[in-house]
């Protein structure tokens, strides 16, 4: 029998008991909450770093930070957002929702679950402590390109390497747990093809994690041995090749992009049918599309490297494969629109975020298709056009989906309704901030501004100022979001019913709100 943390003897001091409860908890809901809190904290940290470099970029010339510190901010912003904000947020969501959606009492491996969470704070402590080290934090971009990161990296690079190892272990353990849970703990009658789409997307994401996180671990291990143990995987002087680092990194890196987006697809596929009051259109093709995106993501990594001097054949292969990804992605977008078609829609905050996700993610998809065309990519590559593309994919794809999910399930988690009016203001402010920040980046990129530069030529000045103002707005909206969530936890605008949304379907809505700490001890029957 699993020892539950809430059975700790009450004789202790209440504060210690409370702390121990959260440290020792093996309950999927509590661990989910821990993940979500950590990821929001990291989101604020990574966002603060973005504020630093947007402030510096508001005008040409050096105003606030030096070039080296700017590079440190750029590097840590990427790493913290990818590994600290987006991934733990979705793992937290999976912890909360997967057992509820498949009718399981908990995750299959609860103690492992606790372990994989508690690795993370230490990983980020290691990563962020590098800011205070001699020589500064890593300053070579989140892509860690050798030899800038190996031969020329600051001493704190080793902390980054071990931090990445820890995050990798955490993600792999989390992914194993999710797969084992989905394969073994489904309620009787819930066949694979009856699972909610969010569960499906997470199942596929978990397989991606198990396949690629170890490859990243291998890449950073090679960095470590190159730095300290005399190997030369990535150094031409010893017979290695710096470009090989890029191949290994992007073999991880491209599936990683889908790790951050597929759960978002799942969230949108839950929210849109609820508020359209109509079943998801093309459930089967959605599942197949997700799977084919995941498989294709393994054979497109070369599109990040068109300018490294690839042979023509390789360039053509990666170009075709990348363009092919547009097909299943398109199918998903069309299916969402078809789900909405002739529904009976209302626009509560979760629905607004889901629609914002579909529209802006599609814009990111369009620029992605343009980037896939290799001859033109020579002009886009490593400019702000790429920055615009990746933020249009990831901000709506991951952050909007995540926030939509929080608004959607918050009443189930807390038992209280959030403030709908504030939620709508949050959405519109975020849309304005997001587009002001990232849309002009398309233009400065096309006009010729390279990415990751601390200072830029005069023609790009006006649009950069505009971006920076947008970034400020976007930054402020996060505090509005925090206020809305805290307010909902403390009572919000009233009690939520078990059903919460009249159009919602699924096992999680059969439970009362808030969902009791222990649910589905007796598995529900699904027909």
């Amino acid at each position: 029998m699993i020892a539950h943390a809430d059975t700790i003897p009450p004789a202790r001091h209440p504060l210690i008991a409370w702390i121990l409860r959260w440290i020792l908890t093996t309950n999927h809901k509590e661990i989910g909450t821990l993940y979500l809190c950590l990821s929001f904290a990291m989101f604020i940290v990574g966002g603060a770093m973005a504020m630093v470099f947007r402030l510096e970029l508001a005008q040409p010339g050096l105003q606030f930070v030096g070039a080296d510190f700017y590079n440190q901010m750029v590097t840590l912003h990427g790493l913290v957002m990818v590994f600290g904000a987006v991934m733990p947020a979705f793992v937290g969501l999976a912890n909360w929702m997967v057992p509820l959606m498949i009718g399981a009492p908990d995750m299959a491996l609860p103690r492992l679950n606790n372990f994989s969470f508690w690795i993370l704070p230490f990983a980020f402590f290691m990563l962020l402590s590098s800011l205070f080290m001699q020589g500064g934090a890593p300053n070579f971009g989140w892509t860690l390109y050798a030899p800038l990161s190996t031969t020329y990296g600051p001493p704190s690079t080793d902390y980054l390497i071990f931090g990445v190892h820890l995050m990798g272990i955490s993600s792999i353990l989390g992914a194993i747990n999710i797969i084992v849970t989905i394969f073994n703990l489904r309620a009787p009658g819930m066949t694979l093809m009856k699972m909610p789409l969010f569960v499906w997307t997470w199942l596929i994401t978990a397989f991606l994690l198990i396949m690629v996180m170890p490859v990243l671990a291998g890449a950073v291990t090679m960095m470590l041995t190159d730095r300290h143990f005399g190997t030369s995987f990535f150094s031409a002087a010893g017979g290695g090749d710096p470009v090989m680092f890029q191949h290994v990194f992007w073999f991880f890196g491209h599936p990683e992009v889908y790790i951050m987006i597929l759960p978002g697809f799942g969230v949108a596929s839950q929210i849109i049918p609820t508020f359209a009051r109509k079943k998801l259109f093309g459930y089967h093709s959605m599942v197949y599309a997700t799977a084919s995106i995941a498989i294709l993501s393994f054979v497109v990594w070369g599109h990040h490297m068109f300018t490294t001097g690839m042979p023509l054949v390789a360039e053509l292969f990666f170009m075709y494969m990348t363009m092919l990804i547009a097909v299943p992605t398109g199918v998903k977008v069309f299916n969402w629109v078809a789900t909405m078609w002739r529904g009976s829609m209302t626009y509560e905050t979760p629905m607004l975020f889901a629609l914002g996700f579909v529209v802006m993610f599609t814009i990111g998809g369009f620029s992605g298709l343009m980037l896939a065309i290799a001859p033109v990519d020579f002009q886009y590559h490593d400019t702000f056009f790429v920055v615009a593309h990746l933020h249009y994919v990831l901000y709506p794809g991951a952050i909007f989906a995540m926030m939509g999910a929080v608004y959607y399930w918050l009443p189930k988690w807390t038992g209280n309704m959030y403030n709908e009016q504030l939620g709508k203001i949050h959405f519109w402010a975020a849309v304005i901030g997001l587009n002001m920040t990232f849309f002009p980046m398309h233009f400065v990129g096309l006009a010729g501004m390279p990415r990751r530069i601390v200072d830029y030529a005069l023609p790009y000045a006006d649009l950069n100022l505009f971006s920076s103002v947008g970034a400020g707005i976007l930054g402020l909206t996060q505090f509005l979001f925090l206020y809305i969530v805290v307010d909902a936890v403390r009572g919000g605008t009233g009690k939520a019913t078990g059903q919460v949304w009249d159009g919602a379907e699924g096992l999680e809505w059969t439970l009362p709100s808030p969902a009791p700490l222990h649910s589905f001890h007796k598995p529900p029957q699904v027909d």
Binding site: Y152, G309, P311, V327, V337, T346, P375, A457
Partner: protein
């Protein structure tokens, strides 16, 4: 008469289409855009057309793919915004019940596939042209190093470094920024019109990337390896670009400037360079044939230091952390002279400290070493002569 800003008009269009409550934010957005100077529109917001056949066709391909995306976008978003408007509960209280249609699914899998094939064909043809390895008329070896470019005309033996020419005062906002702020160099690359020029790319330290948007040439410079690219320009002029691969602290300060001159002037230019190299050689002989005094070397050394050393080691010699050690009281600047000379001439493997032997004259190196040993409180009293440097290399 006041012409309405095109973005304001575009926003009106979107607003009318969606009928979503964006009025307030639209006002805010328009207000922000209108306060921006109109010069914004004078600068292109589009990919540059450039001056080569390839760059112009790449721009066309960019436009084609952009318009295909716009067309698909208008269709998809049009349908979406229509349904958002028409199928809201107040107008459409009873939802329909359909949720599957194999026929529709097949259609919207096949049509995008066909569009993609249509896009892939011209892209494939163009890529084959870019990867053209036929003979070139001029070959130039481009070597990136932190944070400058070295250009070598392989067949004539002419080579020189190309450094950022923007003064530090402009970067630090102490002076007004010039027209070509950060896009100006001391010695631009010079190539002739009408001849095929092959660029060989390599690097001395980390990966750099050499980009001239107007030629649509962007190729990574990778240490220990060579890459190639080519161009053929018909229009004389000055073309500017930048390093596009993060290459360390001063990545932003590594511009590329190419001057394209008529082919008939190119040979004259090559001859001029030869003469200039000979003159520099004679000057070097003259410089090492006499002894220089401390009073002569110190100001010269300070100038060299500020131009080449100060971005890393700082103007006051205080350095920046452990990556860029301080000059003041350093074991090199206050240690044996020959070690100091070796360090400056040959650099340090696997660090940002470069070999200055190919970059600076004997006199410059002698002056800067003398300066480093007698400034920042390092009162060593040493005087390094150009002849000593000459004998060390």
């Amino acid at each position: 008469m006041r012409v309405r800003h095109p973005i304001a008009r575009a926003l009106d269009g979107i607003g009318a289409l969606t009928r979503l409550p964006v009025c307030f934010f639209r006002g805010l957005l328009c207000g922000l855009i209108l306060v921006l100077p109109h010069s914004v529109l004078a600068q292109g917001w589009d990919m540059r057309e450039g001056v080569t056949d390839l760059s112009q066709r790449i721009q066309t391909l960019h436009h084609v793919s952009l318009f295909i995306c716009l067309a698909v976008g208008i269709l998809v978003f049009g349908a979406m915004f229509y349904t958002i408007f028409a199928h809201r509960r107040s107008r459409h209280p009873v939802p329909a019940n359909f949720h599957e249609s194999t026929r529709v699914e097949v259609i919207w899998t096949l049509i995008p596939t066909l569009i993609l094939i249509g896009m892939a064909v011209p892209a494939t043809l163009m890529l084959r042209e870019i990867e053209d390895n036929s003979d070139a008329d001029v070959t130039i070896l481009i070597t990136g190093s932190q944070w400058k470019w070295h250009y070598q005309y392989v067949d004539t033996g002419i080579g020189y470094y190309s450094n950022l020419a923007t003064p530090l005062e402009q970067i630090n906002n102490e002076e007004e920024k010039g027209e070509h702020y950060l896009l100006e160099v001391d010695n631009p690359l010079v190539i002739p019109t009408g001849l095929k020029v092959r660029f060989l790319m390599s690097s001395d330290d980390v990966i750099h990337s050499w980009w001239v948007p107007d030629f649509a040439v962007k190729q990574d410079a990778i240490p220990g390896f060579i890459n190639e690219a080519w161009t053929l320009v018909d229009v004389p002029g000055t073309y500017r670009g930048q390093c596009t691969e993060l290459c360390g602290m001063n990545h932003a300060y590594m511009p590329v400037v190419v001057e394209v001159i008529p082919a008939e002037e190119f040979n004259t230019w090559i001859e001029d360079q030869r003469v200039a190299m000979e003159l520099a050689g004679e000057a070097a002989v003259a410089a090492r044939s006499r002894d220089w005094s401390m009073e002569e070397l110190m100001p010269m050394g300070e100038a060299v230091y500020l131009q080449h050393c100060a971005t890393c080691h700082q103007p006051d010699g205080s350095g920046q952390g452990i990556t860029y050690p301080p000059q003041a009281g350093s074991p090199i600047s206050t240690g044996p002279v020959d070690v100091h000379i070796d360090r400056v001439l040959n650099g340090v493997v696997d660090t940002e400290m470069q070999s200055w032997a190919p970059q600076l004259s004997d006199l410059d190196i002698a002056a800067v070493i003398t300066y480093e040993r007698n400034a920042f409180g390092n009162d060593m009293g040493d005087l390094v002569q150009p002849l000593t440097i000459f004998n060390s290399r």
